[in-house]
């Protein structure tokens, strides 16, 4: 296998993952059960997340060509006519390029469109800054009436897909590559606006989202060997945010590290800071993510290493946080 494969492998939808379902397979299955589900995919109807559905229900798939904004508004029209459209978008061209269509045609109108914003964060970083999706948490969280979720593995993706299916308003799914390794043994039960707990903590809590939760979990395991107990919360809901869990973490562990594949200005870290400061929670906070500057362009793994978005990088951040004051 050439090294290129790590960069772009995107099997979600193509195959069962670890014996469980992939997003694409799950979407197709939902489509079997529910004739009101349709797929809109701008030049992406052949992409794995859409392809199984497309093979089984071709009449319910609308590729709109490379016209992301149109795809969004077409989906809104379908939603206004009784359908639940899933719009597959590339992370770099979803929230950033179509924020207005999301705000005006879906959120203002409170229509049940689901945006599958895949290849987010640095998944496509090799292609240049134009392909970085590191502003989308900030953008989507600012839109009133939009639900924002971020699955971290195929199992949490399924859980979110199913549990939000009948939510009356729009839902934005921030998906990394979609074929992250399995993190949850079974399909976790998710509740609206709640994080998932992956690890109990005492000394500090890591709140991470998407790909980052994998590194966070690995970091917590590494530290456990040294007798350091780090709580790990998977921020599968980015909006509404789990304020109770954040405040509880602040109260119980006193120290919080957030980790995300997003600009540190405006992402999960900022959202957590917001909750802490407004509630006068005196916890120490460290925000880890991509610096608010021009990012390098390279393969994701190289950039993760460069920016310390790795288990080792997180361990280091935790050590600094534990030493603070």
């Amino acid at each position: 296998m050439g090294e290129a494969v790590d960069v772009f492998s995107f099997t979600a939808g193509e195959a069962e993952v670890d014996g469980g379902e992939s997003i694409g397979a799950a979407l197709a299955k939902l489509g079997d059960e529910r004739p009101d589900i349709v797929v809109v995919a701008p030049d992406l109807s052949g992409a794995p997340i859409a392809a199984i559905f497309a093979a089984r229900h071709p009449e319910r798939v609308f590729d709109c060509g490379i016209a992301e904004c149109n795809a969004m508004s077409v989906a809104a029209g379908l939603a206004a006519s009784g359908y639940i459209p899933f719009v597959l978008q590339m992370g770099a061209f979803s929230a950033l390029k179509c924020a207005e269509q999301i705000r005006t045609d879906m959120a203002y109108t409170q229509l049940p469109v689901r945006i599958l914003s895949a290849w987010s964060g640095l998944t496509m970083a090799y292609f240049g800054t134009s392909h970085h999706a590191v502003e989308d948490i900030a953008i989507t969280r600012a839109i009133a009436g939009l639900t924002v979720v971020a699955p971290s593995d195929p199992h949490s993706a399924l859980a979110l897909l199913r549990s939000t299916l009948d939510h009356p308003g729009p839902v934005f799914f921030r998906i990394a590559s979609g074929d992250e390794p399995r993190l949850y043994k079974g399909i976790p039960s998710v509740a609206r606006g709640q994080f998932l707990r992956l690890h109990e903590g005492r000394d500090a809590t890591i709140i991470a989202t998407g790909l980052a939760i994998h590194w966070a979990f690995a970091a917590a395991s590494m530290l456990e060997g040294e007798g350091i107990q780090i709580g790990v919360l998977d921020a599968v809901y980015l909006k509404p945010l789990d304020e109770a869990a954040i405040l509880e973490a602040a109260w119980e562990t006193g120290r919080i590290l957030t980790v995300e594949e997003h600009n540190v200005a405006g992402g999960l870290g900022t959202a957590v800071a917001d909750v802490l400061a407004r509630n006068g929670a005196g916890a120490k906070l460290s925000v880890h993510g991509l610096p608010d500057e021009h990012l390098l362009v390279a393969r994701p793994a190289e950039l993760h290493a460069h920016y310390g978005l790795t288990p080792e990088g997180i361990v280091e951040k935790i050590r600094t946080l534990l030493e603070a004051r």
């Binding site: 016209a67 904004c69 029209g77 206004a80 006519s81 005006t104």
Partner: protein
Amino acid sequence: MNGLHLNDVLDRNRPAEPEALRRGAEELRLAIIDLIDGAGLGHYSSTFSIAELLTVLYRRTMRLKQGDPAWPDRDRFLLGKGHAAVGLWPLLAELDYFPADWLSDFGKLGAPLTDHPNMRTTPGVDFSSGSLGHNLSVGIGMALAARLQKRDYRTFVILGDGELHEGQVWEAAMAASHFKLGNLVAIVDANGSCATGSTSSVMNIEPVAGRFAAFGWAASDIDGHDIAAIIKAFDTLPDPGMSVPTCIVARTLKGKGVSFMEETPRKWHLGFLGSEDRARAPRRKSGKGSEHGGSGRRFFIHRGRG
């Protein structure tokens, strides 16, 4: 109002007399003046240019059900140029989609009838608008839904001619013919004016029909104030099951019906009639008149000094 009862189905191309429709359009203009008087602000000239189009659509062309704005088989109507919503309100009230006394609250804080259409507050609004350029795409979604549901409703979308500057309109134009949406009808209100000036001097859009034709539509021009021409264009629309979307380029006058608005339509893009203006404008006998003094205000161009 129209002698109809709740739940009567109003068939397509019903036999409304051209003369009655012509008078209806005039009444609509007067009702608009009243509504804007009440609100103290509104888009006169953009609404006046589509008075005949709206009247024919709602009183003759579209299949609707009296009092049932959510009837699944109704023809859909989208107002891409949402700033002309005030022209819809009297027509929707007439359909018993909401109580007529809502009209008097138009534009007030918390009122259901707003300056732009809001599908969440106004029964009968098939989709919200306000940002130009989205609604033809939305219409595609509705037309696709019709096909999936094997319903034969049509989706009509009125676009401003300035709205054609938006690229999303061309994404949608491309998609509508690609998807073979014979059940989609775009009506361009070619009133020759956008906010800053004449549409084509700001950014040329001509030949409008030629552009839509190149994008795979059946497109042709009509006189958008000629009731007979409008009736003919709408009565002869291809069957919704056909595969080519239709674009009707309605040549209109921005401000039609009020001489000083026709002369300086840009000034009347947004405003309200001041006392001097009011004296010159046509009035309904029953019109309550505005409580606002001053002269017309224009948003984009400049603020009057008076």
